[in-house]
Symmetry: C2
Subunit: 193 residues, 2 copies
DNA sequence: GTTGTTTTTGAGCACTCGCTCAAGTTAAAA
DNA sequence: TTTTAACTTGAGCGAGTGCTCAAAAACAAC
């Protein structure tokens, strides 16, 4: 190999991802991207093919990071429910301004079938996350942390609906007090489900 | 008055609203709008001032319609909780393709403070809806339909979070069976809250 | 050095964007 | 019928869009 790329691919994806997350796909211009990742159009298009391509990478990276974060909280907690709880709290507390709403949910809201590639990618990633959650609730039941009158998938759905609604709500009214109240409510609902 | 406008203002707002609802604000082009409302740019800009102006009208109209629908279901039901239940069911069943997610929630997700007018409008309308819901749960408590260990505002928040999350979830996996299950879950959660 | 291959650069293309405004059309009033 | 004021039309403006590609720069191998 004669020459190597100068930029750090992962850093570029992350920076672009935050911009896409804040502004959405269609409201983000390629010039916005050029300045935030400090690359000229030619390099971007050589590396990612298109705006859509870069967005895809960013969304996949986001989903991966979210899973990793959840895994970290699970492995450093005494119980699965505690792990989930601290994960939700962490996500809500650490969210940068304009990034309160899950990027996957924002993507799910933004794309219709006029953008099939991004629509399908979003669906796939959300489906994967649901499977991951289902597995988690399955083991929680097997460890007797959770009642078994509902299937793991139903718990996963409740979790997703609450998580989605909660983050959407906190995007509007940012307040740590309300946030903590609502997270506690969420886990009371899950335990009593 | 020498001459009158030829178009039906309300119909135009409604048609434009559906397009905005499906595609979002920034992904909707003025040319899309022109064809769906069958008006030439000059007339649109004379009547609404800007794309933002037309969107504002459409969003206000949407919020108004949602309130009206809820009021209708409340007044034709035996109890408040039944009214809320049939309202949620109706919204989920009657939603046109691409319109599963509440337009207000989509707007809340789309706008940041680089579009202060639309951001503030969205916040105001969501706040108004929350107040409306709070009043409803207040009377539900006074009519002994609901426990009083939580304030009406807390019930309103739970309702919003569930409603938001539920519609987001149904946008992804459209299935009447799952929808009914999740609505029943939602109202079980509210009753047992 | 010089060569050969890869990456980076940025001017700029073809197109679409939100929007304007002069000209044309309409219809109540005179 | 003519006047007059309001409404509608659509060509098209300037700015911004996603993206391309020839030229310049970078660097390992010789």
């Amino acid at each position: 190999m004669v020459n190597k790329v100068k930029f750090d691919r992962e850093k570029v994806i992350k920076k672009a991802g935050i911009l896409f997350w804040q502004k959405g796909f269609s409201a983000t211009s390629t010039r916005d991207l050029q300045t935030t990742v400090d690359m000229r159009p030619g390099s971007i298009y050589a590396a990612f093919g298109s705006k859509e391509g870069l967005y895809s990478e960013a969304l996949k990276n986001y989903a991966e990071q979210l899973k990793t974060l959840l895994a970290t909280h699970l492995s450093s907690s005494a119980s699965i429910l505690e792990g989930l709880h601290s994960f939700v709290q962490a996500v809500l507390e650490d969210s940068e301004p304009g990034c309160e709403i899950c990027m996957l949910i924002k993507a799910n809201a933004e794309f219709d079938y006029s953008q099939p590639l991004l629509k399908n990618l979003t669906n796939d990633l959300l489906q994967q996350f649901e499977c991951y959650l289902t597995d988690i609730f399955d083991t929680a039941q097997k460890q007797n942390e959770l009642a078994t009158n509902h299937a793991p998938l139903e718990y996963a759905r409740l979790f997703q609906i609450q998580f989605t609604g909660l983050r959407s709500y906190m995007h509007r009214s940012q307040s740590n007090t309300i946030s903590n109240e609502l997270v506690n409510m969420m886990f009371k609902l899950i335990k009593d489900f």
